[in-house]
Homo-oligomer: 440 residues x 2
């Protein structure tokens, strides 16, 4: 029953079930976010998920969960349990549920060996287990880790003598989110769409990423769009002071959905102006890096409060080395003086957390690196360090360019790492507005 | 079968299952955190959760999920589906699974009326539905909302004529976390402990955080401890190349559990030696910062590949400013030369990604900041930048101290940000071993 004859084309309205494997999930140590992610991705191509199940690392329990799923779903996606250790049982369970043996998949073994060779490490014998796949399965390539995924045709009834088995497609992916996401997007998704004979409808989401004002302030400008029942839907979410507006449309085709989204996006952009910095997965550091690369301009960074975070965020962008010359983390006052040339009397009269020091840091680092732009941060991240006039969360950002230097005061609250992260966004956003020629 | 005779006292080792109800969960709109929370609370009183299930708002599907759970669990906790609207079906499903009718529970109706009266609002007729409970059920009071919970004795076999039914306790709680938490803590938890004949034991977990070798290599040294059935249990999880060994003991008291953990911890420490860097929630950058602060030593950082991340991780630790003087992110070769004093011929003959350059960066930054220690990173984060002899993921770490300089080659794979993060851990770990006087 794992042969080609069961490869039916699914009907519209097929059911999917997602099974997450791992004792760290049933014990409550970790929360299962993979099921949510997969449910969203499947909905986008018109596949409804009816059940999620979570099972610990127990072969009997996993097989039982698979059998239950085979009886009620047309597509079963399993995440987790594909590692090399003794408690990774998904391969074995899948073979049992499909009624086949595990066989060594030479191509996958070669890929695993290659993965270790590239790292110049010996391959532990244990990792060979990852190349044993159920007979008849296709291996789903994993470019980010050693565990191949599994694509296996099976049936709703393991006992072949029973009548009318349905075709059930079993897919197993690693539990590591980055690996799982890439494998789903690159390999599984196109195959599923092909299997569906094209997706019956599409859901398209356009995200507008904003920075520089609070959630309530933004929502007040958009109340007519965010109200329930508005089509396309508009939702607001916030993370680390970055506000995401999601415009979501459902239509027969991607073109049609995008046609519905366009006027709503225009309205939002008109109302929010320069608060909108990017779309979809674009992040603030990516926008800044892209602007610099497009304009063939360079930047250097001087950080106190953020301790290297602004620079690091920019280095996350591939190819940024043409524009990012580097940075100096001047945590100690002596470093601000010696490495950035901040005058000692400025540090003494205004204190390290002050607008003049932020400006001197930016000017100093710009000159030392010979950059077109410079950005600086100084502030009080807490929990200690506050004074009567300078509370935790007080931050100054400096921006230096060809035409001079400016500084901005920002006040954040939150924990140390939150103040650091939000201040890094403030610095990048101020830089963005300057590069775009519309400083706040 | 819902009468008192089935109220057996459970055996040690009973199984629980958690069922979450709601289309917003199966569709991926929301992530289910209730199952995680309940799993943790049940573990604390010695009840192991073997399965989680999530079902949409469909009566047939919910009843099916309940029947599956009754067949394999002694305790089933359902969250969600207790609201007043048409798609709230948990009451009906529970009655069907237990084989009883819904009856109006006058006391609950009075409580709901009271809730509206207290808020000076008229009670919508629809809310009466929340007072219809399965026959024989106890209502679990809800002081934060209108939905009473349900405590219902049932059996593993709905068909009473079959032999040997087990007692199965069905509990339903609202999906709203604040209501669910309060009702579990105040009402359900004490009843469950009573049912167990007093909380039979506590579960204590000790985590050993390790770095410097792969998961399989570590497990190979601990196979006798990680094998199923070993007490205390030892589990391995990995995140960003940091390996956590969890020792989990179950005993009558915390003291007793810690007494069981101690020798296992000793054994692991003996076998893994310097790979173990911290316990429980301690992170690598915290350990390094603590060591430096204890020894009143200072550090400076020179980063290329990691672009400020190593410095930033250290600045996450409150009070680190006494030990962290600062850092230089020398992304461009000119910055390596001008700001760190890396000789140009070294850059030209060996390339920026090389052991001699990593060493020169560390020496240069140590001298410029006048620090006791210096750490440097240089490497290829990808996706571009690889050459025939230098693949993506090739990284060199330099450590300079009073007695000289050393470098280390590391090879990572993964995405750009993963290579950066893992390399930052490599750098911090090398620094840790040097400060501890046992360089690798």
């Amino acid at each position: 029953m794992t042969n080609a004859e069961t490869k039916l084309k699914w009907e519209f309205g097929m059911n999917a079930e997602i099974i997450s494997i791992g004792a760290e999930l049933t014990s409550g140590q970790n929360v299962d976010t993979n099921s949510q992610w997969l449910s969203q991705r499947l909905a986008e191509i018109g596949i409804a998920v009816r059940f999620h199940a979570t099972v610990g690392d127990d072969l009997k329990d996993i097989v039982a969960a698979l059998r239950t799923a085979q009886a009620r779903a047309d597509l079963v996606i399993v995440t987790g349990g594909l590692g090399p250790t003794q408690d990774d049982l998904t391969r074995e369970a899948l073979a049992a549920a499909a009624g086949v043996e595990l066989v060594l998949h030479e191509e996958s073994l070669a890929a695993i060996r290659q993965m270790f060779a590239a790292r110049k490490r010996p391959m532990p014998e244990r990792n060979v287990a990852q190349a044993w796949l159920p007979h008849g399965a296709e291996a789903i390539p994993n470019h980010l880790g050693t565990a191949p995924g599994i694509w296996l045709e099976s049936s709703s009834i393991p006992q072949a003598e029973e009548p009318n088995p349905r075709a059930v497609l079993l897919i197993a992916l690693p539990g590591v989110p980055s690996e799982m996401h890439a494998m789903f997007r690159e390999w599984v998704r196109p195959r599923l769409i092909e299997r569906l004979g094209g997706a019956p409808f599409v859901i398209i989401e356009r995200k507008l990423n904003c920075f520089g004002a609070g959630e309530s302030m933004m929502e007040e400008k958009l109340l007519d769009l965010t109200k329930r029942g508005h089509e396309p839907q508009v939702g607001i979410t916030v993370r680390d002071a970055i506000i995401a507006l999601r415009i979501r449309a459902r239509a027969a085709s991607e073109t049609e959905a995008r046609r519905l989204i366009a006027p709503v996006e225009d309205t939002i952009r008109q109302r929010l102006g320069h608060y909108v910095f990017g779309v979809d997965r674009e992040e603030l550091h990516e926008v800044v890096a892209r602007l610099l690369m497009e304009k063939k301009q360079t930047v250097a960074v001087a950080e106190s409060l953020t301790g290297g975070l602004v620079t690091h965020l920019l280095t996350l962008v591939p190819g940024v080395s043409a524009s990012l010359l580097g940075g100096i983390v001047a945590y100690a006052n002596s470093a601000k003086e010696n490495l950035l040339g901040v005058p000692r009397d400025l540090l003494e009269s205004h204190g390290a957390v002050s607008a003049p020091v932020a400006e001197a840091m930016a000017v100093g680092v710009r000159q030392r690196f010979g950059a077109d732009w410079a950005v600086s941060t100084t502030g009080i991240a807490g929990p200690t360090g506050a004074t009567a006039t300078k509370p935790v969360g007080l931050v100054y950002i400096g921006i230096a360019g060809r035409t001079g230097v400016r500084s901005y005061e920002v006040n954040w609250f939150g924990e140390r790492h939150e103040i650091q992260t939000r201040s890094a966004w403030s610095a990048l956003n101020a830089l963005r507005l300057h590069i775009e020629g519309r400083p706040a």
